[in-house]
Symmetry: C2
Subunit: 99 residues, 2 copies
């Protein structure tokens, strides 16, 4: 299994972030072709108390090729454009193979 992992640092305005993420961005990301599952991990702390992160989103695909195709599809490009608009300074994106 392959994952596209989006790691979001804490935004200044978490309410505005969550509203846009839940109502606009997640529905756009969910339209990517080949997406098997979108799992949202909401960060609530860390071993030392606080965490600098707000959210980690994991998008599951069958193969590396399916992930590449999804990002290059119109739906993937639309999700990417929206992402850069509302969270360009907060997010980092990573490709992972799950063991």
């Amino acid at each position: 299994m392959i994952k596209l992992i989006a790691i979001y640092k804490k935004p200044e305005d978490t309410v505005a972030f969550d509203t846009h993420y839940n109502e606009v961005h997640a529905p756009l990301a969910a339209k990517m072709p080949g997406l098997i599952k979108l799992e949202v991990n909401r960060i609530y702390g860390g071993p030392m108390g606080d965490s600098n992160l707000h959210l980690i989103a994991e998008m599951y695909f069958e193969t590396k090729e399916a992930l590449t195709e999804a990002l290059n599809a119109p739906e993937g490009r639309a999700a990417g454009k929206d992402l850069m608009g509302f969270a360009g300074k907060l997010v980092s994106m990573h490709f992972a193979e799950v063991e």
Copy 2:
């Protein structure tokens, strides 16, 4: 479901890191009481080509309380001590609620 998420940046020596992670650290982490699943995500790139990350480990627990108890148990402390020894400068740890 609750996750303890460990995010590792790329080490200088990936072979030495992977050897220690696979042969020493993961078996120690797997002994934590209440652990339901340990999932290892090996990072192989990102949308811009490379990624600054090497590995993301996700440890699943039933409740926030079970995670706290696991970290405070002797097995959790042993895993934490080992972690700081081999990856203290590379790792960040986060608590997450899964939707």
